[in-house]
């Protein structure tokens, strides 16, 4: 009798176990805001799914069981509404140029600086990242320093118009991120720039 009860309990456990998955995991690839969709790999207990289409999804009901599939945009918005609504604003980028051989912004860039200030005023807890860039003339370490110096110059400009210095971060990206790709050692004024990123 006791053994029977034990068996019954075991059977019940198995039934419950089958009826109800251990997990309710859902992974969804979203289309990128820039129109490009990346890719996501979902790996669980040695099994893997690669998601590379908008709204491609993987469900994991138990570790080691990855079920690929899709969801509709509406389903995604419903399941993740609060998380999506809490997404911080995307960083906004403003690019400034200097008059050649002078410590002064071009007239266009003065206007751009104004737009950056408007954007800063609109954001909650705004951070300002000033990123200097160079063209590919000169060695990499030299350009790292030069790009940082350019960024510091713009930071000083921002402080002058009333932005708190502790909200501003300066970065020097050197010659690594040209706006216009060129071979090494080619002078290109459009690459000598400073980007203000507001986030």
């Amino acid at each position: 009798m006791r053994r029977l009860a034990g068996l019954a309990a075991l059977a019940l456990l198995l039934l419950v176990g089958c009826a109800k998955p251990a997990r309710n995991d859902l992974y969804v690839l979203m289309p990128g805001a820039d129109g490009k969709t990346g890719a996501l790999t979902v790996e669980s207990g040695g099994k893997q799914a690669v998601l590379d289409q908008p709204y491609a999804a993987a469900r994991v009901k138990e570790s080691g069981q990855v079920e690929p599939g899709t969801v509709t945009e509406q389903e995604a918005r419903q399941a993740f509404g609060a998380a999506l609504a809490a997404q911080p604003g995307r960083p906004a980028s403003f690019i400034l140029y200097f008059l050649e051989n002078r410590d002064e912004l071009t007239p266009d860039s003065k206007q751009t600086l104004g737009s950056a200030l408007d954007e800063i005023a609109r954001r909650p807890a705004p951070e300002i990242v000033v990123i200097g860039h160079t063209d590919r003339v000169g060695p990499v370490p030299y350009n790292d320093t030069l790009s940082l110096r350019r960024a510091e110059r713009v930071r000083d400009e921002l402080v002058k118009v009333g932005i708190a210095a502790d909200r501003i971060r300066v970065e020097g990206r050197g010659e690594r991120e040209p706006l216009v790709p060129t071979p090494d050692e080619v002078a290109e004024p459009r690459n000598r720039r400073v980007e203000i990123s507001v986030r």
């Binding site: 690839l29 790999t41 998380a83 911080p88």
Partner: protein
């Protein structure tokens, strides 16, 4: 203790005291906080408000009515819905080379992710874990839900 050892020890102390490690701890800032949002750091839970710093090692959690949005130094955006627990396991970002790594774990709840400069620079740099899966990120936006179906 020999003199050279003392010098070595002093040098080691100096390298750890330079601003690097302190700055390296800062990983991002809270930009959106609705309802109950808490940050657990070194065993201490404190309510988190917009503007608060998030560091590597922090565990961010939301209540039944809560949600939170965090912007990281590499422009990654992570936002969690209600009843979520998100651990920032590791964050390192070199703003000049864009090298580094970003690992986080969603222990339960929902999460929306927009990857940033780290994932763009190297596909291996960003990982999001859940109790059941590890996600590899190839420069992308995605959603994660994990936890017990009862929750």
């Amino acid at each position: 203790m020999s003199r050279s050892l003392v010098v070595l020890a002093a040098a080691a102390v100096m390298t750890t005291v330079t601003p690097g490690p302190l700055l390296a701890q800062e990983a991002g800032h809270i930009k959106v906080a609705r309802g109950v949002v808490q940050v657990e750091r070194a065993g201490q839970k404190t309510p988190a408000a917009v503007g608060a710093v998030v560091q590597a090692g922090d565990v961010v959690s939301t209540g039944a009515d809560g949600s939170v949005g965090i912007t990281f130094l590499d422009n990654s955006l992570l936002s969690a819905g209600p009843n979520s627990v998100l651990a920032i396991d590791r964050f390192a970002f070199d703003s000049t080379t864009h090298q580094g790594s970003f690992e986080s774990s969603l222990r339960k709840g929902t999460l929306a992710v927009v990857s940033g400069k780290l994932a763009k620079q190297s596909p291996e740099a960003m990982k999001v874990k859940t109790p059941a899966a590890v996600l590899g990120v190839r420069g992308t936006e995605f959603l994660v839900r994990t936890g017990d179906p009862k929750d």
